[in-house]
Structure formats: structure tokens, C-alpha cells
Symmetry: D4
Subunit: 170 residues, 8 copies
């Protein structure tokens, strides 16, 4: 496998089900990635080191997922000037709203590109969009993916029409 372009971090291994979707989307689009568990609070030095060395190791986009008072994406962003995507995770009792606010409401100077609560897939697509600004073939892959999505939706639309016709005749 090629040298990773995207670094995926999560605060706990219970975050894996959502964060694996980031990796799946990247793999589908042929983008090499690495993935690790770190934590803004329990492994602050490892997290800071990871963020500080990411660019020199060839990483171009970071994706961070965390729940509750989700500080991971913000802490990572404070140690790198690479684009950092934050995935607020549902965990605890507040449906992920705590994680959304803790991720998106960053103060001026240290932005986090936030996606939907549990939005692992979109974090993958957003990373691909970012990488596509220097890789025309990736832009084409994204166009092909969208075309496939369209086809799939159109197929479902046709199925629905068939089903409706049947019900009406039946």
C-alpha cells in the first residue's frame, strides 16, 4: 500500500464503527490512509506529536472522531496547519449534540471542518474533495462516484414506479 495521505484518529476504540466508514470510503476511492486511537485527554502528548509530525510524514488531511465534550479535532488542529475534519460522535445522553458543539464552535484561528453527527462517510468524501485539488484523477473518481449514486437512486426510483403500478393494477 502507498504512503498514507489521510490520518484517521479516534478517541476510543468504541468509536471504530463510525470511523471505519471513513476508511471504507477512502479505500473505495483508492486513497491510502492510516488509522489510530489517541485521545486529547488521556494521551495528550501522543496526540500532539501525531498532529505536529503529520505534514512532514506526508499526511495531507486529518480526520478526528470523538464524542461528548469532543476535544480531539480541536486539539489536533492546534498542533498542525493541515486541514482537520471533525466527526462529532453520538455517545452519552445528548444524541451527539455535545460533540457537535464541541467540534464546530471553534474560536477564530483554529478551524475544524465539521461534518454531521456520526458522519463518517462524509468525512471520507470531504477528505477526497480536499485531496482532489492536487490530483485530477481523484476529481474524476469523485465524479464517477456521484454518477454511480445517481444511477442507484434512479434505479430505486424505477423500482418504486413499478411497485406503484403493480399496486394500482392489483
Amino acid at each position: 500500500m502507498d504512503k498514507p495521505l489521510v490520518g484517521i484518529l479516534m478517541g476510543s476504540d468504541s468509536d471504530l464503527p463510525v470511523m471505519q466508514k471513513v476508511a471504507e470510503v477512502l479505500t473505495q476511492l483508492g486513497i491510502p490512509w492510516e488509522m489510530d486511537i489517541s485521545s486529547a485527554h488521556r494521551l495528550p502528548e501522543k496526540t500532539a506529536d501525531y498532529a505536529r509530525t503529520a505534514r512532514e510524514r506526508g499526511i495531507e488531511v486529518l480526520v478526528c472522531g470523538a464524542g461528548m465534550a469532543a476535544h480531539l479535532a480541536g486539539v489536533v488542529a492546534s498542533h498542525t496547519t493541515l486541514p482537520v475534519i471533525g466527526v462529532p460522535l453520538k455517545s452519552g445522553e445528548l444524541a451527539g449534540l455535545d460533540a457537535l458543539y464541541s467540534t464546530v464552535q471553534m474560536p477564530p484561528g483554529i478551524p475544524v471542518a465539521t461534518v454531521a453527527i456520526n458522519g463518517g462517510k462524509n468525512a471520507g468524501y470531504l477528505a477526497a474533495s480536499i485531496l482532489s485539488i492536487k490530483r485530477p484523477e481523484l476529481a474524476e473518481s469523485l465524479v464517477r462516484f456521484r454518477e454511480a449514486t445517481r444511477k442507484e437512486l434512479e434505479a430505486r426510483s424505477s423500482e418504486l414506479q413499478t411497485e406503484i403500478r403493480k399496486n394500482r393494477q392489483g
Copy 2:
């Protein structure tokens, strides 16, 4: 001025005070930009055309600001595979929470990189981070900006210490 790399769109000219900060940050960092008013609802064709032609016109990042049921960033993202940054704007009675949800909670496949409510500055810095993955000199500018921010904060810290000492002696 060089060919714009960032396209800034807003839904109404009342959004200008926040969206101008995107342009100010980009100008500070030497990144050429263009800015226009369009609207997902009132100028849907213009908006779609703008998004569809952005990549071929040399734009690499799009920044969209809108309030209330803020559809602009999502609609733009549906017509391009470039990275789209959404700025939820406070307008109307719900403190921008409606715009935040309408911007960040995008369904899988069409991501919007969302920043804080009224987060014009961070939209600029996020655009710069994205552009920096193919422009090492921009990465350096971002490092210098952070350094300057640090210095400024340290200066304020010193002033505070001086003031505290004075009050204690006084």
C-alpha cells in the same frame, strides 16, 4: 491580482459583514479570491452554474454563507466535487442554530465542511489549510500567522501580569 483560488458565495448582501472576514483572512495570507451574491432559492440556476464551472475556472475551494434554512452550501456541494466550506449565519430568531443544522447535517455523499456560526474568519483559515496541501509557502504563512497569534496572546498575558502587580502594590 492573480486568478482567484477561493470562491466566496453568500445568499444575500446582508451576509456581507461576516463573509467579508473570509476575504480579509485570505487577503492577509496572499490568497486570491472572488466573491459573489447568489442564492440557493432565488437564483438556483446561477448558483448551480457557478458551482459546476468552479473547478475548470481554477477555483479550488468554495466558501458559502447563508442563514436560517441555509441550503446554499449544500446546493453548491451537490454541483461540484471541490471542497465546500459552509458558514452558518445568525439571522432570524434561532441564533443561527437553524443555519448550523441545515449546513452540517448533510446526508452521506455530499459533505459540507462546516465552521462555527458566523465563523467567517475560520472559513478563511480552513480554506488556506486546504490550499496549503499543494503550496508549501502557504503552509509556512499559516505557521507564521499562528506564531504571530501566539506572540499577541503572550503580550496580553504580560500586560495582565503587569496590571495585577500594579493592583497588588497599589
Copy 3:
């Protein structure tokens, strides 16, 4: 079946369970309808075309259901001057509140007639109310439906009284 008067659109086939209730109510009231899957983000051109041609095809009311950052109703409304009813759907983690805000908080000029979260039935009754302004027989059907509802509720009230009496005597 007659030419459809109501066009029902949904963003994904997972929205079918709620949106089918719109069709059921319309069928009960003898109002012809059509139903399709489209998506503001994944099939923007199809969505725009559908909306733009609806009036000339004889459609008089459009009903759109979508979840999360629900843009479907707003995008449809931007391409037609027909009345557009929006059904915010629960999907994702925010209990449909994101869809409610994204549907109801439309900026001035492009209204969406919003019903309750997952309010498929009421979307059907609202469509019928709208159609009734030019069809007196439909107004009568609605009155008969309300009468039936009243009777049903009164029957349940009687059952409850009987049950209470039994319990007291028992």
C-alpha cells in the same frame, strides 16, 4: 386512474414508510397522486426539472419529505410557484429537529408549508385542503372525514366509560 394532482417526492427510499402515508390519505380521499424518489443533492437536475414542469403537467400541490439537512422541499419550492408541503423526517441523531429547522425556516420569498416531524398523514390532509379550494366535493369529503374521526373518538370515549364503570363495579 386520473391524472395526478399531487406530486410526492422523497430524498431516499428509506423515507418511504412515512411518505406512503401521504399517498394513503390521498387515496382515501380519492385524490390522484404520483410519487418519486429524487434528491436535492444527489439528483439536483432531475429535482429541478420535476419542480419546473409540475404545474404544466397538471400537478397542483407538491409534497416533499427529507431528513437531516432537509433541502428537498426548499429546492423544489425554488423551482415552482405551486404550493410545496415539506415533511421533516426523523433520520440521524437529532430526532428530526435538524430536518424541521431546515424545512420551516425558509428565507422570505420561497415558502414551504411545513407539517410535523414525520407528519405524513397531515401532509396528505393539507394537500387535500389546498385542493378543496377549487373542488367543493373535496371540501365535503374532508368534512365527512372529520365527522368519521369524531365518531371514532366518541366510540372510544364510550368504551372508556364502560370500562371505568366495570372496574368500579368489579
Copy 4:
């Protein structure tokens, strides 16, 4: 003036600033209206009578504005099968969220077509959309209004471009 087609009701005369915008939009579009103060709670009989007799008096759409535990639109809808548009008004401490929930979350059978908090203008445009299904000339007026809105937005876009050019040259 012609016989009113739209009946505008509000719960208190403090609601006039928002509800007057409904009337202004209707007047602009040449739609005759009537307007009155009633209250679901303080004038329940008047409110019920008004709703019950609306259709026979030639009214085709009702628009109701109320704040806090806003029951007016729901109560009116329970006494008529005409389409009822609800305008949740900001009043009290909860930014109109109480009025939004009290208006939009109607139980099955009695729908209210809800617009944005303080969305007086859109209530007017929605009423016009509904009336347009039996009045082709009104559909054309709405198209002309949208065209005018587009032109206005395009003019502002041009002004912005001029201003940006000036600033860059200056």
C-alpha cells in the same frame, strides 16, 4: 376592493408588525384580504365562528399568527377544512421556539401549514401559491415577483463586483 380571499387572524394587536407583512405581500400581488384580532383563548367563540363560516363567506386561505403556546392556528384549523397557514411569533423568552412547536407539531387529522418564526412575508407568498392553483394570472404574478427578486439580487451582485474592483484598484 374585492371580496377577501385570505383571512388574516392574530392573537393580539402586538402581533401586528409581523402580520401586516402578510397583508402587504397580498396587496402587492393584488389579492384581497381581511384582517382581524381574535384569540384562541380569550375569544374562543369568535375564533370558532370565524373559522366555521370562512369558506361560505368566500375565504379560501386562513393565515393565523400567535406567540408562546400558540394555539390559534390549530384551533382555527379544527373548525374549518380550508388550508390554514400558521405563523409562529417570537414573543416571551423562548425566541419563538415555543410558538413553532405549538404550531407545527399538530396531531394527525388537523394540519397547519407552518412557516418560519415571524415569517409573515412567506405566509403571504404561500397563500398566493395556494390561491394560484385556480387562478392562472396569479401564478404569472408569482413568476413575475420571482423574476423581480432575481433581478434585484443580480443588481446587488453587480454592485458588489464594482465595489470589490474599486477596493482592489484603490
Copy 5:
């Protein structure tokens, strides 16, 4: 059974599980009650008549439970000067928050005494408190109930202490 002092109303028979607890508490305290299904929206005349005649029929407190845009308590309160207790019911997607706002945020002049979401029991105890201002024996019953509650809680406290001691010795 004696003539009812408390009238319990609910908007639908699906509200019975919560509203039955009102009756259970009243029965425990020896307070006669009546219970019926009515609906602010589907049976507005019955609801109004019920409220208007309640005082002359000997009812002293009304308890109304409804979900979503819960108008029942407010509509009842607008037709009587008896104290009306509102029980906001969880139903639909918003966890009862819509019912809470629709019940408690009543405009000046028509109060509803609101208890917790699904707070059937407390509606019963509140009704008893109100009735106790003219029935000293009921005040005593309430004191005895509180004493019993205290005893029960103290028993559980003792059990917990025993269990803790066992665990420590074990």
C-alpha cells in the same frame, strides 16, 4: 361512588397509560373522579361544552393530558375559570418538549398549571393539594401519604446500608 370532583380529559386513548395514573392517585386518596377522551382539535365543541359546564356539575379541578402541539389544556382553560392542570405527554419525536412548551407557555390571562412531561402521578397529587384547601381531611391524607413515602425511602436506605455492609464483609 361520590360525585366526581376531578375531571380527567385526554386527547386520545393512546394517552391512557399516563392519564390512568392520575386516576390511581386520586382513588388512593379517596377523591372521586371522572375520565373522558376528548380532543381540542377533533372534538372542539364537546371539549368546550365539557369545560364550560364543569363547575356547575360539581367538578373543582380539571386535568388535561395531550401530546405534540398539546392544545387541550389551554383550550379547556379558555372555557372555564376552574384550575386546569396540564400534563404534557411524550408522543412523536420531540420527547414531549413540544407538548411541554405548548402547555406551559400560555399567554397572560389563561393559566395552565403544568406538571412534568408524562407526570400523571404529580397531576393527581397537585389536584389533591388544590382540593385540600377546603377539605382538612384531604390535607391530612396528603400528610400521611408523604409520611408513607418517607418511610418507604428510609426502608430502602436501610436495605442499601445492609447490602453495603455485606459486600464489605464478604
Copy 6:
């Protein structure tokens, strides 16, 4: 003045502007009241004593106003079996939502009759409703008050009609 029937408590003298409205309504209706500042947290013993002795001193209804984590009404209710009305006050940053939840969401056994945020007036009317169950003349006063409210609203309705006619002729 007669012996007070209603005891009005507030947590701080900054709550006076809202709580004075309780007294004004009671005075209007001829109901004697007493008013004091106490605090669930800063004067817990005084608060408990006040509540415990209220019934024997002839008080029949207690009205408690407090902001933020508003415990006053709940604490008072835990020391008396008299009906306790809670007025959640806006204070601090959360628009009174904290006070609303802290007042209305009481656990089973200790109810608080909650009115709207800053709902001083309705606390007064609710107290009067409660007192009216043993004082027919108060029930009549409440009916007269409602009649006056109706007249006033009808007068405003007439004024509005006059104004509309003028504008149309002018």
C-alpha cells in the same frame, strides 16, 4: 387588609419586577396576599419554616419565583401539602429554560404547578382559580375579568377594522 390567602416568595429582590405582577393581579381580584424574599439555598431554614407553617397561618396557595437552577418552588413544595405555583424566571444566559426545567420536571410525589417563564400574571390568575373552588364570588370575579379582557380585545379589533378601512380609502 384581610389575612393573606396567598404567600408570594422569591429568591432574590431582582425577581421583584416579575413577582410584583402576581400581587397586582391578586389585588385587582380582591385577594389578600403577603410577599417575602427567601431563598432555597441561602435561607434554607427560613424557607422550610415558611412553607411548614403556611397552612396553619391561613395561607391557601403559595407562589414561588426563582431563576437559573430554580429550586425554590420545589423546596417549598417539599415542606407543605398546599398547592405551590412555580414561576420560572429568566435570569442568566439560558433564557429561563434552566428555571423552567428545574421547576416543572419535579419527581413523583411533590408537584409544582408551573406557569410560563416570567409568567407572573398567570401565577396570579392560577392562584385565584384555585381559591375560587371555595369562594363562589371569586369565580364570578374571574368571569368578569375574562369578560373585560374579551371586551378589550374586541375594542382593539374594532380599532383595527377602522384603521384598515381608512388606509383603503386614503
Copy 7:
């Protein structure tokens, strides 16, 4: 067992599953504790006595858990100057948000140290942090616990790397 340093109180025995975690953490760290059921509303005198005598009985930190309109921590804090930790518990329909606001939004003068909704574990660690200011050996235990947490997280990180490598080779 040594004399307890931490007193754990809960409003009901249904709160035990969360509050037991406080005790587990303390036991792990070798801190003696006591635990009891009391209630701000149902056992106000016991609760006040417990709080008032805590310091003289050798207790140094109090931990209080309650749900809904959670008054327990605030009431305890009003009767002692010891540090009081509040654990807002999820119970009822509002996901613990009511308990969070009722616990954290204390008015000036009577603070409650609030942890996350259902945050029993962190209440234990916070109590240990507080006790550590006079017990150096406890500070060391806390450092060892954090070290163990780090090791555990690093082990999971290694496992994840192994699994990723396997998947890639497989």
C-alpha cells in the same frame, strides 16, 4: 474499613446503577466512602441534617446524584461549605438535560461541582482529585491510574494496527 471521606447521596434507589460507579472508583483508589439514599423533596430534614453534620463527621467531599428537576446537590450545598459534586442523572424524557440545568446553573454563593450526565465515574475521580490536595499518596495513585489508562489505550492502539495490517495482507 476506615472512616469515610466521601459521602455519596442519591435521590432514589433507581439511581444506584450510576452512583455505584462513584463508589467503585473510590474503592479502586483506596478512598473510604459511605452511601445513602435521601431526597431533597421527600426527606428534606434528613438531607439537611446529613449535609450539616458531614464536615464534623469527617466527610471531606459530598457527591449527589439526582434526575429530572435535580435539587439534591443544590440543597445539600446550601447546608454545608464542603465541596459538593453533582451528578445529573438521565431519568424521565429529557435525556438528563433537565437534571444538568438543575444541577449546574446554581445561583452565586452556593456552587455545585457538576460532572457529565450519568458521569458517576468522573464524580469519583473528581472527589479523588479534591482529596489529593492534602494527601500526596492519593496524587500518586491518580497519576498511576492515568498511566494505566494510557497503557490500556496504547494497547488498543497496537491491536488496531495489527488488525489493519492483517486486513491489508488478507
Copy 8:
């Protein structure tokens, strides 16, 4: 002045108005403090160093104030085992709710003792409570402060009674 026992940190000098109240309360109680500006995101190393060395420098309690996605208290807590008090600050558009969630919803293992939004004063009193567990004279100061608060409230209560009597006689 003595060696500081409390370290007060804030993320920006715009937080000074609230955080100064922490210092004022401590000064009133005779507790030496230090105060500095640092930032979890803009000065991460300084923040980490400050937290890591706090205990050995004699600090016993840390108080951290930050707004929006308020990470300061959490980041500080991850680098020390001293008790950390978090003050969520209102800043930006969400009334401090973002800061509250970002501060209080800490994941297990790294607690933050959270006080009310903008609760600077209570942070001071909480710090004093914590320090009082090893300083009996501070416990006495706190008791005296509470006594003074009580007296002040009682004085205001007397003034209110006087005013009421005057109004009644006048």
C-alpha cells in the same frame, strides 16, 4: 502576598470581566491566587506546561474559563491530577450552551468540576470549599460569608416588608 493556591486561566483577555470575579471572591476570602491568559488551541504548549507544573508550584486548585468549543478546562485537566474547575463562558451566538457542553460532558477519567455559564463567582466559592478541606479557618470564613449573605437577604426582606406596608397605607 502569599504563594498562590489557585491558578486562574482564561482563553482570551475578553474573558476577563467574568474571570476577574473568581479573583475577587478569592481575595475576599484571603486566598492567594495567580491569573494568566493561555489558550488550549493557540498556546497549547504553555497551557500543558502550566497544568503539568501547577502542583509542584504549590497550586491546589485550577480554574479555567473559555467560551464556544471551550476546551481549556479539559486540556488542563488532562495534564494534571489537581481539581480543575471549568467556567463555561457566553461568547458567540449560542448563549454559552456550546461552552457548557464542551466543559461538562468530559469523558470518563478526566473530570472537570463545572459551574454555571459565566459563573465566575461560584468558581471562586467552589475553589474555597475545596481548599477548606485542609484549612479549618477557611471553612469558618465560608460559614461567615454565608451568614453575611443571609443577613443581607434578610435585610432586603425587611425593606420589602416596609415598602409593602407603606404602599398599603398610602
